[in-house]
């Protein structure tokens, strides 16, 4: 069912536009042009963030931090195997998907740990990516309390995920 929604939606918009005499072809040319200028302003931010994230996850600092943090997780009643994915989740979307696949392989897809990890990844976002990309075309340099609050909210969601997975 859901696979029909996207093409149907775009199709309806195009037909509707045609009936209303909105120039379809010109809109696509305009949209594609806008896309390039948008990427030009986003790219420097993505690049800087990804260099740092790659260094962080491949240097082994990530798993080292995970080891230090694992008692905190046990204290909160979460499986300590989730430490690494919890640290990477706000930094890198691809990184957390790769870790998720690793967890599926090591513990089994339908295990409690794997289900927790799935819910955590599904119910949160790449906070640092959103923080850099969304503000990239504005003059804003100081995000004030934006990132701490986003992180706290995401981790509250993560703790809730583990509790929910126990009952559902």
């Amino acid at each position: 069912m859901s696979k029909y929604i996207l093409p149907a939606f775009i199709g309806i918009v195009i037909i509707w536009a045609f009936i209303k005499k909105v120039p379809v072809y010109d809109s696509f040319v305009k949209g594609s042009k806008e896309s390039i200028t948008l990427i030009l302003s986003i790219f420097p931010y993505i690049c800087a963030v990804l260099i740092a994230v790659e260094l962080f996850s491949l240097s082994g600092l990530n798993s080292y931090l995970a080891k230090i943090m694992s008692p905190v997780l046990t204290f909160l009643g979460m499986p300590s195997e989730l430490c690494e994915i919890l640290i990477i989740r706000p930094l890198s979307g691809n990184g957390s998907l790769a870790l998720l696949e690793g967890i599926y392989e090591n513990y089994g897809v339908d295990s409690y740990i794997a289900r927790c990890a799935s819910v955590i990844v599904g119910a949160s976002e790449t906070v640092f990516y959103v923080g850099t990309v969304y503000f990239s075309t504005t003059k804003v340099k100081r995000l004030r309390y934006a990132i701490p609050i986003s992180l706290v909210a995401c981790y509250v969601g993560a703790v809730a995920s583990c509790i929910l997975c126990r009952f559902i």
Partner: protein, 214 residues
């Protein structure tokens, strides 16, 4: 951002110098090249969504959606223009439907409409970012796909807990953001009501240069 970024890079580099110094540079290059790859994919995705978006603008679909959701968005984002509310509504709808590729350019446009020209993010901008970074997806399609390809017995088992967890995290984020906005406003008011007693000129000057250096 600057502090987090610097700490992350320095700590990782120190770690790498101890563990394997020869791989440090290639890791940095691989980070930059994955950014390049991502940028190319994003150009393609945004080209399509920005085109569809401009069509939607042309037929007035944006205004219609905005009219439906305005009672909610207007209360959350007080004092924003109609155009900003329009982009916010569209961004939320795209997020809810799991169309991340469409949500990002809309979010950027919403931020552009909300900025007040200063280098500090406004309370509304922060609230918007917080809601976006707690994911308000109804159906985590990517994860369900991953689970079914890994051979799960019931890949869609996680839909309900994900939905509840998302609601919890978004609600926490909104409440905290609103609370912080209130606190910030109070502090500002205090500063206006009792301005600092004027110090002798030489002290004022040292204070000024002190803050500039910081």
């Amino acid at each position: 951002m600057n502090v987090v970024f610097t700490i992350m890079i320095i700590a990782s580099l120190v770690m790498l110098i101890v563990v394997s110094p020869e791989s440090a540079f290639s890791i940095m290059i691989s980070g930059a090249s994955s950014a390049l790859k991502l940028a190319f994919t994003l150009i393609a995705i945004y080209a399509i969504w920005l085109s569809v978006l401009s069509l939607m603008e042309g037929i007035g679909l944006n205004r219609m959606l905005n009219r439906i959701f305005k009672p909610i968005t207007k209360r959350l984002f007080k004092g924003e223009s109609d155009l900003a509310l329009e982009y916010i509504t569209l961004n939320f709808s795209a997020n809810l439907l799991g169309m991340g590729g469409a949500a990002t350019p809309l979010g950027i446009k919403a931020m552009e409409c909300m900025q007040d020209g200063s280098d500090k993010a406004t309370d509304n901008m922060i609230l918007f970012m917080v809601i976006n970074s707690t994911s308000i997806q109804l159906l985590p399609a990517t994860i369900i796909g991953l689970r079914s390809s890994a051979g799960s017995n019931s890949p869609s088992d996680i839909i309900l807990p994900s939905l509840i967890a998302t609601i919890i995290s978004t609600a926490t984020g909104v409440v905290l953001a609103k609370l912080c906005a209130k606190l910030a406003k109070k502090e500002q008011k205090k500063a206006v009501e009792n301005p600092m007693p004027k110090a002798p000129l030489y002290i004022q000057n040292t204070v000024k240069t002190g803050t500039v250096k910081k």
